[in-house]
Amino acid sequence: MRTKQLTSSFGIGALAGLAMGAMASFAMPAQAADDTIKVGILHSLSGTMAISETTLKDVMLMLIDEQNKKGGLLGKKLEPVVVDPASNWPLFAEKARELISKDKVSAVFGCWTSVSRKSVLPVFEELNNILFYPVQYEGEESSRNVFYTGAAPNQQAIPAVDYLMQKEKVQRWVLAGTDYVYPRTTNKILEAYLKGKGVKPEDIMINYTPFGHSDWQSIVADIKKFGSAGKKTAVVSTINGDANVPFYKELGNQGVKAQDIPVVAFSVGEEELAGIDTKPLLGHLAAWNYFQSVETPANAEFIKEWKAYTKNDKRVTNDPMEAHYIGFNMWVKAVEAAGTTEPDKVIDAMVGVSVPNLTGGYSAMLPNHHITKPVLIGEVQENGQFDVVSKTSGLVPGDEWSDFLPDSKDLIADWRKPMSCGNFNVKTGKCGGKGS
């Protein structure tokens, strides 16, 4: 009995000591070096999202590296702070808090999934810092502390559907997506848009699958069946991440050719195609604001630097990378204009900043914290690249509140003073959504 007590006390003592030690280590104020400007990078390096997000971490490191070679910012060097939120959404919030309050970063570049953004959003608003979010998303959000450099639905989905309707004369639509908020919202918007264009409800099929769905046999067969009603059919795919490779493999195997039933995807870029043999997929489409195949001097330079930085000649570039490129350059410009990295001043200086994008034009930051972008439609080529078959003539401004959803069509966001509101209702003239 005595032994037991002794050992227990030993353990408990260890517990107490460790708890105290830990508290002490956390209690120590982090020494913020004054001679550098810290930039947080909040992308998952492990877990399910590592496959997409690790590349973004690398591109940020490259951009920061280059900026430092150019002499840094405000006479100081930039210092990247990389953390791994491990595809774990509460951990995203914790890491965001750590970056801001412990590492004292001036801005954070990060997140991929909507849920990770939703998770960190209250943290950024509470601690008043800046997040650059580089991925196409469902819209329906505008925060003073977030800059959305990816596409809103009107910068991707709607132009793609227009293209199919006009050029391919599509009359029947399969909206296939992973069951989460981005596909749900995008499909809601598209459904309303298509119905507005006179498409009958029976000509729209909506299908949702779980994350990481790997057995697509039945669904591809269903698509074929739906496509045999005698009208030209297309698939609009908002299938996410991992599930795409088995989906495309099944399409190829079951012989669904782009000439018969084209698939236009919003989440499939060069990175995703790098894992597939693209020969059977020739001609399937994707809509983005950037493709690696775009021939501009800026893009050629960017690709060259990327390949040199990663020391890998086969690495591809993709749309979210361009979004970080744009976002980072905008932030640099805004900081230079504001003369400080203090978030409030930088946020005010951001609106209106315009920087070159990689597709041969300029992207500007709008008052709603979204940016202007061209919309490109590409067809999959045998080499895993996209051939641009259509490009909007001008730049499309990002629309945060969709005009096709009943509850958001009256809302706008404008973060300039004096309005400074993310959900201003033009009907009631009040900030705060629909109002009561």
Binding site: Q5, G13, A93, S119, E126, R184, G432
Partner: protein
């Protein structure tokens, strides 16, 4: 009577645990709120939230240790009860947002507005009230555990079969909560909370209060758990763990004993989840992931199975390591964590709390001794 029950399980070990918890409950708020920010003894609010989170995990680990360490039921689905408790609290917090959502809809949460829901589903009714939500935090996980356990224990599903169907349970719930049609926000879950009981959830004082509440819940649960274990019921549970058939042949209604511990444990896990959600600010189906349940088992194993204090220690240490390494070694932390699990199983079979006993056993001239509670004899079929 009740007091006697609580005091029954208290020995010196429990005294130390409770003393530490009491110390935390007093010192942490003091160091956060009253020590000036530039003092070396000041604790940032970030640290408080982090500690609060660890203690929620510690409560989950404690609940798991009660069934695994003392009752021999290896649950690989305890995160499900944790998450259900979290969702119950999350629903209350969502209702507290009221018309402050982005759409300004006073009746419906934002995610229902943009999915075009017209009215609140029936199962959301009542969550406007804190007492109702608090009740549900206990009732929902408890009822699920009771129903699941009632069937499983009566059918004498044991060992690895039980473990795997608990995984099936949590995985099925994961998929169900992912579905946007379920009305729980799908993959985005519930976020953007504003108030709890009328207090701003982001205020420092609220955070500290939540931390203190967590410490209190952990202390209370610890007392209940050690009370149960110290009682006659606890002795039957341990006997059950070591040789279920023999206990049954002696005339004990083993199923009821197991069911009691199992349901109690699920309720504790639910409370842990409910305290976790307001502190991290989000609840999402990934909490149901089979991996989270396995991780909870690992905390218990690291600390020392069958020693309630060990579960707490393991949960706090592993999560502290995770927090530290994901920042310090973002590319390599999985090696560190994976290596830790392998090392603990190989070199510390009784966990950290068993370390002392292990060291003693190595000392010459002493009889090897084991912790009676930490060495379950029955390893059959897992």
């Amino acid at each position: 009577m009740l007091l006697r029950f609580f005091l029954m399980g208290l020995d010196r070990k429990a005294g130390i645990v409770l003393a530490i918890l009491a110390f935390l409950a007093v010192v942490v708020p003091a160091m956060t709120l009253w020590v000036p920010a530039d003092s070396p003894f000041h604790l940032s609010i970030f640290t408080v939230s982090l500690l609060g989170k660890y203690l929620c995990f510690a409560l989950l680990a404690l609940a798991l240790d009660l069934v695994w360490g003392y009752c021999g039921i290896l649950s690989l689905g305890h995160a499900a009860f944790f998450a259900l408790g979290g969702y119950a609290m999350g629903m209350y917090l969502m209702r507290q947002i009221g018309p402050r959502g982005v759409y300004g809809n006073p009746l419906l949460p934002d995610f229902m507005v943009f999915l075009n829901w017209k009215e609140l589903p029936w199962y959301w009714l009542g969550f406007d009230h804190f007492w109702f939500a608090a009740l549900m935090v206990l009732v929902v996980p408890g009822a699920l555990a009771f129903a699941f356990g009632w069937f499983a224990f009566r059918s004498r599903v044991t060992g690895v079969y039980l473990s795997i169907i608990t995984q099936a349970l949590t995985f099925a719930l994961l998929l169900a909560f992912f579905r946007n049609d379920m009305g729980f926000g799908g993959n985005n879950g519930l976020t953007d909370f504003k108030d709890i009981l009328g207090y701003d959830i982001q205020a420092d004082t609220t955070r500290v209060a939540l931390f203190v509440a967590t410490v209190a819940a952990l202390a209370l649960s610890y007392m209940i758990a050690s009370g149960v274990i110290g009682s006659k019921l606890g002795k039957v549970l341990v006997a059950l763990r070591d040789a279920e058939s023999r206990v049954r042949f002696m005339g004990y209604d083993t199923e009821s004993y197991k069911l009691f511990a199992w349901t109690l444990s699920a309720c504790m896990a639910g409370v842990a989840g409910a305290l976790y959600v307001p502190q991290v600010g989000i609840i999402n189906p990934s909490e149901f992931a089979p991996a989270s349940s396995i991780e909870a088992v690992i905390w218990v194993a690291v600390g020392g199975r069958g020693t309630l204090a060990g579960a707490i220690l393991g949960a706090v240490l592993v999560n502290m390591g995770k927090s530290y390494f994901t920042g310090a070694l973002p590319e390599l932390w999985l090696f560190a964590l994976g290596g830790l699990f392998v090392a603990v199983t190989l070199f510390l079979p009784k966990g950290l709390l068993g370390l002392g006993a292990q060291l003693k056993a190595k000392l010459p001239g002493r009889k090897a001794s084991t912790l009676p509670n930490a060495q379950p004899a029955d390893q059959k079929g897992a």
